[in-house]
Symmetry: C2
Subunit: 441 residues, 2 copies
């Protein structure tokens, strides 16, 4: 019997745990789900005979080590900053580790020790990062194997609301960590364009958008992610003149969000004085010199150079920023106040479903001709618990874990899933769950 | 004999030390100038018989304590972050301390202990903060003493180049710490306008300027300082509906500087990859999508929505940002590269002089009528060593030190110079040195 330890039973764990439970009998697995909140862990495990839920505070190193010692592999769904604690114990106890998070410098630093210990710390095996790596590498290797040379690489992904529940002026609802959405674009974006290094400072990330069409789902717009340059070397696309990764939103979102940025509503650097006694209307007013309770609408439209009957104004108004309702929070930044408001406006309701959209565009030269390869993926949520996000984050992790347990993965050290041994079997199994790319050249 | 310990013999020390040396015989003082760089300290003391220069690394606590123990008062010209080390020793040894820096939370926390030890830690007694406090409090108290009620308070200050050496398109040269100039406006500004709290996020601090006229010196423009709200309570102007502190520049500076901000050239959050091998032209190009070596000028003008024959374009061009010259620096941020370039362009030359401009505008009601009181100060540098900046920062510190040594100051604890016992004698003596406000109602 092989033992799987899952650290964290939060948002993205539903599909992952279901996969392990469904395969437990056949694969002869025993699953331990550990969370600081025992009830949460129990709610995922239920009465399954090959699984148990336990209470675990991962900052208690001895307890953590005891659980890891007893496991064959560790799957960490912890907040990104806590993976490193699990990784250090895994190194010491020579256990494999799987996470869906970006490789941090701290994690990277364990590479040589992990190689020496003959263990694999597989990271970035969720959706984005995760499925994007798998499908990009499949496309890139296909092109290169037939003698093509990659000239452009663009990759976009977004977590959105499913079309039938897309019923607000922003065409957006939260399907993932709201704080990350509110603080998006606050670091300089770096990418490559026509062979030239390009930077976009935070003050204009949402102004420099591109349009992307996904067949059957219409037009989307994209804004640039933090660092596209760092993918050139691991993807083996040094030949590419343009490399850009971005986030997908419905049309019009970025323009309106940029106006919130310009106003100062996404500022997370200070606490608004006396915020509890302020109304949203007063807060909005405080970002506009010359604006007062009476002329706020006109002053806002003038400052943003938009019409009071236009789409952007409608989006801002719909959020309730003009309403004289009390904020009622103390010691909070403008970004935290905005998040609080958005969480009332942009929450997926019980019966509503989410949607994942991913798109790659890879240009290449082959036989002295230029080609462009497109691949796109759309995944719909199945229920409030089995969301598209939980499915696309959890299943790649689960499948990778199974492959490692079966000894089918030869990679060791700190890795992301770029090699063929990852993308071939994982994409194949994902397609059986309806996670299937459409390809077009 | 009374002993004065001066910590730091850098930029702003020339006038301060000269004042102490000139008064040493009459006042029966002995002055010790301590700096990590012994030669620098010696160059300020020369062969004066009532003074000595010593080498001191203030992070060596025992040495620092020995010098403080032997002194009657300590004047700290250290970098702001190091004052607290001196303050802790002064508290322990019950010595008075004088600095020209803003009171930090750490310094503030020593207030009760300083009161208990019956010592004065006088901070913010330079130019800005310093002379601004003295003259503002004199005006405010005058208004309040005759029964007037302050309704608006605006205060501006700038270190500029003297008009006869004002010969570049920016009408600006460095007269103070260049890094602070490059990183100015990167925190949200907070102020009060018509009774309403107002915030300006970093992305538009240089767009929201006001015009200020200083009689005899023409028009200036101003941008808002970080936190004007924090002055309402200490200044006793809770009655004011508008409170704003700002920095003065010559007309046109802020618009052009804002364009450098929009481009991303003041970004200090990341290192530019391969910066040593880049030219300034290539760096500029990297901030504009679609720009290349050939179309850069046109793309820049289009992006900034300015004319290639206009004043702002001229300012940017004059800096050398279009030149194919190698940057030649490694591991530097855009802000550090910009600073490096500006230090070649905006340096005061040997024979050139600086200028300080300060202006207060205080509105008040008196006998049911509205009045506006203006005061302005212009100080010219005397030489490369005796700059207007060194004079206006150093003399208030020196005079305050003298008053404390003579027992004429009753304040104790952590203070800024707001009380009458500071502004009356210090402004009076400053006027004898030509630091004299012009008043107008």
């Amino acid at each position: 019997m092989q033992k799987i330890l899952i650290l964290g039973a939060g948002l993205s764990s539903a599909y992952l745990i279901k996969y392990f439970l469904d395969h437990a009998a056949k694969e002869n697995w025993f699953i331990t789900v550990a969370d600081a909140n025992l009830q949460l862990a129990q709610s995922k495990v239920l009465q399954h005979k090959s699984a148990k839920a336990v209470a675990l505070d991962v900052t208690r190193k001895t307890e953590l080590a005891n659980y890891i010692k007893d496991a064959d592999i560790v799957v960490s769904l912890l907040p990104p900053a806590l993976h490193i604690e699990a990784a250090r114990e895994c190194l010491h106890l020579r256990k494999n580790l799987v996470t869906a998070s970006y490789i941090t410098d701290e994690m990277k630093a364990l590479h040589k020790q992990a190689l020496k210990a003959d263990v694999l710390f597989l990271n970035e095996i969720g959706l984005d990062p995760g499925i994007d790596h798998l499908s990009a590498m499949e496309m890139i290797h296909d092109i290169q194997n037939k003698g093509g040379v990659v000239t452009t690489f663009k990759s976009y992904c977004g977590g959105l609301v499913a079309p039938e529940f897309d019923n607000n002026p922003w065409n957006y609802k939260f399907t993932w960590n709201p704080r990350n959405v509110v603080l998006a674009g606050q670091a300089t974006a770096k990418y490559l364009e026509d062979g030239l290094l390009k930077f976009i400072p935070p003050n204009r990330i949402f102004t420099q958008t591109e349009q992307v069409i996904v067949s059957g789902y219409g037009k989307f717009e994209t804004y640039a992610n933090r660092d596209s340059l760092s993918y050139i070397e691991p993807y083996g696309i040094g030949s590419a003149k343009t490399v850009l990764r971005g986030t997908l939103r419905k049309m019009g979102y970025c323009h309106a969000w940029n106006d919130l940025v310009r106003l100062g509503l996404t500022d997370d650097s200070y606490h608004v004085p006396n915020s509890a006694g302020l109304t949203y209307r007063e807060l909005l007013c405080s970002f506009l010199s010359g604006a007062n309770n009476k002329n706020l609408e006109v002053q806002l439209a003038r400052f943003l150079d938009i019409s009071v009957s236009g789409k952007t104004f409608k989006k801002i108004k719909w959020l309730g920023l003009f309403e004289p309702n009390l904020i009622g929070l103390t010691e909070v930044s403008p970004a935290q106040i905005l998040q609080h408001l958005l969480q009332q406006k942009w929450m997926l309701q019980k019966e509503e479903l989410d949607m994942i959209v991913m798109k790659h565009e890879i240009g290449y030269q082959w036989n002295a001709k230029n080609f462009k390869s497109h691949s796109s993926l759309v995944v719909m949520g199945e229920s409030q618990k089995f969301t598209a996000m939980a499915k696309t984050v959890g299943l790649p992790m689960a499948i990778a874990t199974k492959l490692i347990l079966k000894g089918k993965i030869k990679s060791r050290g700190v890795q992301m899933p770029l090699a063929k041994e990852f993308y071939v079997p994982i994409l194949k199994e994902l397609s059986r769950f309806g996670i299937k790319f459409e390809y077009r050249v």
